[in-house]
Amino acid sequence: MSLVLTCLFDQGSLSRDSLEALGAGKSIAAELGAVLAAAVIGAETGAIGAAAGEYGASKIYAVQDAALAQYYCEGYLAALEAVCRECEPAVVLFVTNAPGREMAPRLAKRLGRTALVDCLSFNADKETGSIVFTKPVFGGKAMAQVAMSDAPAVVALRRRSFEPARPEQAAAETIQVKPPAIPPNPFKLIERVEEQTAGVRLEDARVVVSGGQGLGGPENFALLEELAGLLGGAVGASRVAVDSGWVSSSKQVGQTGKIVAPDIYLAVGISGACQHLAGCSGSKVIVAVNTDPEAPIFGAARLGVVGDYKEVLPPLIEKVKEMA
């Protein structure tokens, strides 16, 4: 029976990304009549393997080694390569988070394939076992359907595009895999700075207030901070605002930034380039505030305010304060 392998890099407990990979893997396996498997890697993989089993994987391929306590590309690649040689999967799934983005193309190359990164959906053909994945190209102006007919199809899924797996009662079999060698990390870690966000994380926020080039400078982000703060939300930004140094790059929303799906996405002074919309199109209600009635953002927003944000945001903030 063929195998769909989801690659999990978490230590201890499953992240939302991993749950999405398992969720997608489950439906692909169902369509192909295949078995869902998970690769787990670390110094101690017992807990994460058990969690993967609880969330639908019926086979767990574990690579356990003290050298793999923390993610690093070369080591984890060697581990995954060994797993793939052991189980010869039909499909290998990653999520396009930082590790997934770098692992998918490199693993595919080692297996003599080319990966497909940032996929949104799939269509499987049970008869031929071939799968067609949909991937946005040209910043989302077009959708490419790519036929992955040679096994393994190595694919990285766009975040927040697949339903996370749900827990189920099932028994999983664990197979320990030993790579022939685990290369040392060619890079020495000098410093890791985890960004501390006061308040909610951008990706978990129910309300996101994003600013772009139209804000004209970093000081004007204060208004957005205030509004987001009152609504228990978070501040995001367009790439231009990041490149101008107005906000830190972890706030960038879009195809090459964070993917968010809040109840309200308020885009302030953002023109609505598709590369930006790729990061917020899953929002319940997109609200645009823009001086230019022709701005493409009005083609994506549910509610639009044509006007200068400096005249609209302060009274909006007052309204929200009254409500509180």
Binding site: R101, P105, T114, A115, F298, G299, L313
Partner: protein, 256 residues
Amino acid sequence: MQIMVCLKQILDPELPPRDFRLEKGEMTPAAEGVPLVMSSFDQNALEVGLQLREKMAGATVTAVTVGPEGAEDVLRKALAVKADRAVRVPLEQDSKLSGGIVAGLLAGAARELGADLVLCGRQAGDWDGGQVGLILAEELGWPGANLVTGIEPGSGGLVLKCELDEGYEVLEGNAPLVAVVTNHETNVLRIAKVKDTMAAMRKKVEQINVAPQGGRLELASLEIPVKEVNCEIIPGEDGVEKADNLFKRLLELKVL
């Protein structure tokens, strides 16, 4: 230090969706009338290379592109911001989903040039493949650092700043290596002086021939998605009225 920066010429990614069309009967976008530009993350990579050269005596920056003769425009742009050399690896086939082939050609060029550090943008702004630099690391058998925003010379090699999903990390590594670059306020490409742009027109573009190898992914279809969003414009004479009405609608939609 021989720094090689990989540059791709693409259709302007800022072209608004309403002007984006496909070539009739073909799975490729209509190029007529659309400006060609240097892919934006490649611009970031070039800037990272230029800044590193300024900090390392004797370092050189070689701009390399894979493509037809017309793609030499991006090399001229690189020469205009003072890249030392410009090299084109000819490839006449179109670039759709050809990341694997292109990475192979770039690896050939890197070997021929004796490069120690190869810089690439994280993904091209046309087909959004997002893998050339990473496959290149595999091809060359070199370490690869991903989502790099800047590189400095360090006491024991190169010091690379890399983005994480939340935050960043600083790594130290030894050349040869491949760095895949992402955008940051510190790596926006400098603007060329007019006289340097003129001078770049007269500079030589070298050519390195490498035999293309490997396959590309199989494109089954290419379509422009239809959007069915109807934007409701919030009425109001002034900012206060608009804010009031917007607030009301958000309450009605039960999202506040």
